[in-house]
């Protein structure tokens, strides 16, 4: 490490406890090539940071000293210093990286290469591609089990969840889901896998041990045609008893009881709601609304939208920086 790198690192290490930095939600703006940084206390955009072309997936390293950004049209994953907004270096990512997930080892990124029907595994320390796995057409949703043993890629046109053994980096199962699967998350200590299907209009729940489908969640919003109900991103509350599901052009979030798989509520948010992120104590939820170009802040306890924050064009991904 050269002195050039030590100084900012020292500064960052010193400044965090003293400045008591506010927590932030980082939002990628797909059509602006920027990230909007929202202060969760003031609920205002405090910084707008340029990125590579068409930023979509965004996630932080476990110590939050690095932020990884899928710059889809630059065909790279950018690694940014979140303090300075400086791009430190690019990771090899395969073509058109759309969405990714960081393995619990904090070292391996599993990246969906949308145009190539490939999942790329990248070692972020050695900055090299460890494996490329052939999956279905238009891979998008990425998840990794809490124990790190299983990674999931969903493919939008093949309509499958592909189960990857992270030890061998090979597929060990492929399960059909409804049309255009978009997002996947493990739940309940890794016992369940949830997959949303945008055109199918459903969320499927799989038992991880045998990859069997155990539930399918349907949605119905008053005054919205069922074809417009298109589940995309979703997140769980800490107790994993509740899931919030973005319904795309239905412009609503669904509040799902994760134990009974029943929908309890719908919350009106911005247009074509896409992905979301909680604040640290999960009292607030921030949704990206692609068409209206804003972020809706939802009060989780009251299940109500409380504020709209204008960001860049076509906000896509969201990630918390505590």
């Amino acid at each position: 490490m050269t002195p050039r790198f030590i100084l900012p690192a020292l500064f960052a290490a010193l400044s965090v406890p003293t400045l008591a930095q506010a927590e932030e939600i980082w939002v990628t703006n797909e059509k602006d090539d920027t990230v909007s940084v929202i202060d969760t206390t003031t609920m205002e955009v405090v910084r707008t940071i340029p990125t590579g072309e068409r930023p979509r997936g965004i996630t932080f390293s476990h110590d939050f000293s690095r932020v990884y950004i899928c710059a889809s049209d630059s065909d790279t994953v950018q690694v940014m210093d979140p303090d300075t907004g400086e791009i430190l270096y690019d990771l090899p990512s395969g073509e058109d990286p759309e969405q990714f997930v960081l393995h619990p080892d904090d070292r391996h990124l599993y990246i969906a290469n949308e145009d190539d029907a490939i999942t790329t595994v990248v070692d972020v320390v050695d900055r090299r591609v460890v494996a490329q796995i052939d999956v279905g057409i238009e891979p998008e949703g990425m998840a990794v089990s809490p124990d790190g043993k299983i990674a999931i890629t969903t493919s939008e046109t093949t309509n499958m969840a592909h189960w990857i053994d992270t030890e061998t980096q090979k597929l060990f199962a492929n399960t059909l889901v409804d049309s255009r699967p978009r997002h996947a998350e493990f739940a309940k200590d890794g016992r369940e896998l949830w997959v949303s299907a945008e055109i199918g209009g459903t969320v499927s729940v799989f038992s991880v041990s045998d990859q069997a489908e155990i539930a399918k969640i349907n949605f119905a919003v008053n005054g919205v045609h069922e074809d417009r109900i298109q589940p995309v991103g979703f997140e769980f509350t800490d107790d994993e008893k509740t899931a919030f599901v973005a319904l795309g052009p239905a412009n609503h979030l669904a509040v799902v009881n994760a134990e009974t798989y029943e929908v309890e509520d719908y919350i009106l948010v911005g247009r074509r709601v896409w992905h979301m992120a909680f604040n640290t104590d999960k009292s607030l939820l921030f949704t990206t609304n692609g068409v209206s170009g804003d972020v809706t802040v939802v009060d989780v306890a009251k299940r109500k939208a409380i504020k709209t924050i204008k960001v860049g064009r076509f906000p896509w991904g969201a990630a918390l920086r505590p």
Binding site: E114, D115, I137, T157, T158, S179, I199, G200, D227, R228
Partner: protein, 400 residues
């Protein structure tokens, strides 16, 4: 074109292999798993000459869409042990029946690009009675109504669907006064009739109509001829033009007597697909296609892709290549195809037409996609485009 042109391409894609390993059908069929063989039969009449040479008809129009559909199916199939085989055959219209007989001897799944009378000839072959035929080219309304066939599905939208998309936009804009120029070709006349029917259906009164009959080379004379020609159309908000080959229509825009927007075959066009469609993940389909074909995806390519994908979706979901299973699933309420148009696509159970949104586009962007907001329907808003069940005179599907 009397010259007989025939091209046969066998493309068999095997599960577990990449890069479209080409093997003869008989060899592939010995592979384990399920097999579905399909034939793409192009028997289009030769394209009529047009004044402009700007937009030549690609040789692989439609076939390139089918090839992409095959690849998409095969990718899914390789995870399931499902194998897809496509034979592409190009013949003259006169040879179409023989080619169809040959294809049906191999497989009951036939995707056809041909004129209506040829299509019906194929659908009525004794060999076709237990077959499933997809029409990817003919937009004629009769094929979906009085002349419908139970073994004939349509992935190409009808003239009526495209006309209704235009009319919905006119109502949305409150452009209620129309004038119409119709070309001399049968397709032009059919589209013009559909436009007038649609205006009436949505409560507008069709305005003045003129038949295009100018023989002069518009590339040189449009600025003199078109103002005069359109002057007689009287007052209108929008000028509709029905010229399916875009022979003269392209010379109308900006040369009209009154400064008016133009819609129909030129200007604001209702089309099943176009280069400018990019929402709802369409950009991915566009790039997969153009990488493969080296050109932009056109409506006929999209219709062929949708036909292949419909068959693939049925085999994937039903785990069967049997015609009865595939056909009944495709026509059932459970069927849905992700067609990159923002809504699930399905088939109308009463006439075999693929329900689909119709983008209204110009050269640089999609203006809006029909059905437009506010055009409601008791069961599916997509059925506000084209002939709906109560009006349908199709009886082949056992309705009414």
């Amino acid at each position: 074109m009397n010259r007989v042109f025939r091209m046969v391409m066998v493309l068999a894609v095997q599960a577990g292999l990449f890069g479209g390993a080409s093997v003869a059908l008989s060899d592939a069929a010995s592979e384990d798993g399920l097999h579905m063989a399909m034939t793409y039969l192009s028997a289009r009449p030769p394209a009529s000459p047009t004044l402009s040479n700007l937009d030549p008809v690609p040789d692989d129009l439609g076939a390139a869409g089918a090839a992409l559909g095959l690849e998409d199916n095969a990718t899914t199939g390789r995870f399931l042990g499902h194998h897809y085989h496509l034979e592409t055959v190009t013949v003259s219209p006169e040879e179409a029946l023989d080619a169809a007989r040959e294809a049906l001897a191999v497989s009951p799944y036939l995707i056809v690009d041909a004129a209506p009378e040829v299509l019906l000839g194929i659908a009525d072959l004794p060999q076709a009675q237990d077959a499933l035929i997809f029409n990817v080219g003919a937009a004629h309304s009769a094929l979906r109504s009085a002349e419908c066939r139970a073994n004939l599905l349509h992935t190409a939208p009808s003239y009526a669907m495209r006309a209704d998309a235009v009319t919905q936009f006119l109502l949305f804009k409150r452009w209620s006064k129309t004038a119409l120029i119709a070309g001399p070709a049968p397709e032009d006349q059919a589209f013009a009739a559909a436009l007038e029917t649609s205006l009436t259906k949505f409560g507008l009164k069709p305005g003045a109509r003129a038949e295009w009959g100018i023989e002069a080379d518009m590339r040189r004379t449009a600025a003199q001829e078109v103002p005069l020609f359109t002057q007689k159309l009287g007052e209108h908000d929008v000028l509709l033009v029905a010229d399916e080959a875009n022979d003269f229509a392209r010379y109308i825009v900006y040369n009209t007597w009154l400064p008016r927007p133009v819609a129909g075959s030129v200007g604001l066009r209702p089309a099943a697909w176009g280069r400018v469609v990019e929402q709802w993940g369409a950009a991915q389909l566009q790039s997969r296609f153009s990488e493969r074909a080296g050109r932009d995806m056109q409506p006929r390519d999209y219709a062929a892709w949708a036909a292949l994908r419909s068959l693939g979706e049925a085999m994937t979901r039903m785990n069967s290549a049997e015609i009865e299973t595939v056909q009944s699933y495709i026509l059932s309420d459970n069927f849905e195809l992700a067609g990159f148009k923002g809504r699930p696509l399905s088939y109308r159970g009463w006439n075999g037409q693929l329900r689909q949104p119709i983008p209204l586009l110009h050269d640089d962007a999609v203006v809006v996609t029909a059905p437009l907001e506010g055009f409601l329907h008791q069961s599916n808003e997509l059925d506000s485009l084209g002939v709906d069940e109560p009006e349908s005179t199709c009886r082949a599907f056992g309705g009414n």
